[in-house]
Every structure is written in C-alpha cells, then in structure tokens.
Point group: C2
Chain length 143, copies 2
C-alpha cells in the first residue's frame, strides 16, 4: 500500500450521520472449508461465524455471514465494512479468528479517514490482507 493512497481517501458518510447499527460489520464467509478436513461439516467458515459472534458479544459490531467471498484459495475469509468507508477482505484466517476480526472492527470505528488503521491492527489482519475496495460513494470521487 502506498502513501499516496491517502490522497484519494475520504469519508463518504460522516460517522456522526451514520446509523450506529451498521457502522461496522464483520462479514464472514460461511462456506470456506478448513485445510485439514475440507469435507467436515459444519464447515470451518461456519465455525468462524460462530466464533466472531461470540467475540462481538452482541454489542457495537454486527456479524453477518455469506457464501461466499470468492477468496476460496486463501483459507478462511472475512471482510470488514464501515458505512462510507473502504471495505477490507482478509484470508488465511482460522476458526478461532473471531477475536481478531472483532478487534479490527472496533479499531475501524476509530478511523477518521475511511481507512482501517494499520497501527494496532491484529497481526492476522496485516498478513492476511487480500484486498480493500472503496465504498461506492468514494468510487465516484476517484479520477
């Protein structure tokens, strides 16, 4: 990621105007298979959904599930969304990565520039970064 990226980043929706209920969402791919036993049921991705929900504790961070995030070659996957901000996709997660995902989500709430901070990000969300993409409202502002 380059330093120049910051020049095009902005909050499309000021956090103060966003619906608190959807400010930060952890979206977990429920169909991801575990590397050790890919045919196991429930799928490893579903176990990560449950672990993220446990970690969120029902407060401040929404956990949703989907099948799938299209990142099938890179281990268990999840994404972080905050209203008006960039979205982040991570791979290489484990069935016990719920705490890391929720820690990343809470860190995201502190962002003032629409980006997930690097400093303080759990190590799994540094080395596991797969992609980040702009919110559609940010997309319209790009050259």
């Amino acid at each position: 990621m380059t330093g120049s990226s910051r020049s095009v980043v902005q909050l499309a929706v000021p956090a103060g105007e966003a619906d608190p209920a959807d400010v930060v969402t952890v979206l977990v791919c429920s169909s991801c298979r575990g590397a050790g036993d890919p045919d196991a049921l429930p799928r490893a991705g579903s176990l990560l959904v449950a672990d993220a929900r446990r970690a969120a504790g029902g407060e401040g961070v929404a956990v949703r599930e989907v099948a799938c995030l299209g990142n099938c070659k890179r281990g268990l996957s999840a994404a972080l969304f905050r209203t008006g901000c960039w979205a982040y996709v991570f791979g290489g997660l484990g069935v016990g990565s719920g705490d890391d995902l929720v820690a990343g989500a809470r860190l995201f709430t502190e962002s003032t520039d629409g980006l997930l901070p690097w400093r303080g990000r759990p190590e799994a969300l540094k080395r596991g970064l797969v992609a980040r993409i702009p919110h559609p409202d940010i997309l319209k502002e790009l050259p």
Copy 2:
C-alpha cells in the same frame, strides 16, 4: 464459490433505476508494480489504467484509478463495480489486460442477479479472481 451463494444474492438497485453513467466501473490500481521491473516509472498499474481506457473507448464503461487496492502480492490488480451489485477484485493482470477488464465490465451489464456471470468471463477474470464483496445495500440483507 458455492452454488448456495445464489440464495443470498439480489440486486439492491434495479438496473433500470441506476444512473447509466455509473452502472459499470473498472477500477484499476495505478500503483501496482510490474514483476519484471518493479521500480519502472510510470508504474505498470498506470499503464494498465491507460490500456483499460483505450479498451473502453469512452463508451458505456467507466475507468477509474486508485492507489491502491491492497492486493500488492498478487500482481496487477483491478476491480469491477456495478451499481447495486457485488464488487469483484482481480489480481495477476498484465499491462495489456484492458480488453479483458472491459469485456468483463460489459458482461456485468447483462447480469440479472447482481453477480458477474462466470460463463463468458475472460479467462484472466476467472483464474485471477481474488475476492468478491457485496454492495453495502446487499450487506444489510445478509443473516
């Protein structure tokens, strides 16, 4: 990608109601470095921006650039966006992948379920798939 993914997919914004000017966008990472000569300027990503603009020919498909998409370990990168649909991120592209990206964008306009069709997708957009993520409006509908 699993067959069950279709159960959660829908068009958040019917195509007929979308602004034609932003229905399909190719977003190219301008800061990606070429594998052969990573220090070359202009960066390989910028060359891909230019190639995609050439391929789009100023009609029907918008080409925008950004630094960066966070997919730095997987070659030249770009994403496809259509209003109300899932967004797709691709890696492993080349400086001459503009035609493939624009072909994918035009294919996307034919989608009726918010997904980029697999059939007819250029090979580079099959093997290069890095991730797909839902539009924020779709996100709210997920369990």
